[in-house]
Symmetry: C2
Subunit: 212 residues, 2 copies
């Protein structure tokens, strides 16, 4: 039935519409029951139309993951912009933002880090935005390092330690493994605060007292 009104044969921005529909469907059905055909149906196009914009299903999933990394990268930059002169607050805010994003979008988070996309052959733009997110964290760590906040360890090592801690908490919560202990938004924030507090106390420069 090619009975679409004349001005709707071509969708305005089908690529974005497909990504949006796929994100909704991902949340509704989970990664295993997300079908390209249903995504196309939701976007109101034929089930082969997506292939004009994505090589295959994998490419669409990568695009969704890229959305997640973009959010993360933007959040990092916002944490820096919020307190340009306070690297400690930057770090605390970024940790909280990281966990909150993971809790808010658990499916996308698992797509980003859960191995569903495979470990190689990822599109260049995904790598790029992923690096941007980590780069924001590196920058925050470096800011604190230059302010003498942290122990004399190289920035990369400090960043990996910080990233691991916050990332682990995020993954555990978003996977529901802490359901018994983290039930609501307040619990999330509280846990994030706890982790970053212990973390800071572990990496901070010895000559500094307890933070505020």
């Amino acid at each position: 039935m090619p009975k679409k009104s004349k001005d709707s044969y071509h969708h305005g921005d089908l690529r974005q519409a497909l990504i949006d529909a796929a994100i909704v469907l991902l949340r509704e059905r989970g990664i295993n029951d997300l079908s390209l055909r249903e995504v196309a149906k939701r976007a109101g196009v034929s089930h082969t139309a997506p292939y004009r914009h994505f090589n295959d299903k994998h490419a669409l999933l990568c695009a969704i993951a890229a959305v997640g990394f973009k959010r993360l990268a933007d959040a990092m930059q916002q944490c820096i912009a919020q307190d340009p002169q306070n690297p400690l607050k930057q770090l605390q805010a970024s940790g909280l933002a990281y966990v909150r994003l993971a809790v808010q979008y658990p499916d996308i988070t698992h797509l980003m880090f859960g191995g569903a996309l495979g470990y190689e052959n990822l599109p260049a733009d995904l790598i790029e935005v992923s690096d941007a997110a980590f780069g924001g964290l590196l920058q925050i760590i470096d800011n604190g390092k230059q302010a003498g906040l942290y122990q004399d360890e190289d920035t990369m090592s400090l960043a990996l330690v910080v990233w691991s801690s916050v990332h682990g908490l995020s993954m555990l919560i978003s996977a529901g493994k802490l359901q018994d202990h983290v039930k609501n938004q307040d619990d999330v924030d509280c846990m994030a605060e706890l982790v970053t507090r212990f973390l800071l106390s572990g990496i901070k420069s010895d000559k500094l007292g307890a933070p505020e």
Copy 2:
């Protein structure tokens, strides 16, 4: 053609054979390209035979995840048994074991924590063995707490902080996100040591000096 030799009609232990075949296939093709039919073919049975042992594909995947949690729980207990009188060594060893398992079996790790199984309606035996793994860590933390190693925080909070850190490092490495910085087994061990060192320095009791 139901003309199979008399002793091969019944497999013997098809359930375990299916799990084994599925684990191999999972590693070969990744979670998205794992098909029940191929698993059955590898096990040398018809493509519907698995349904005698698993309700559906999800159930088989859960069984694989349970294998992973069992390994983790066993590793925790082994860390305790190895140094019954040294909670600090128990913690360091368990952290290292956690990361090593994740690196050795990245696909199973992502199955365990990556959200591919959904966040609810998980079989009871999976929950059970999962709790056993976390219980081992709790026990290790409690051992150290009773020895006065850690700050005066409740055991559960300390355990969640420790778990988050180690878990995060494990997930990041097994997802290949640290490929540029962690290339071989030595790097893995080094990173695990780095994380646990900073972690301990963050949670340890103030009245204690540097460990060993």
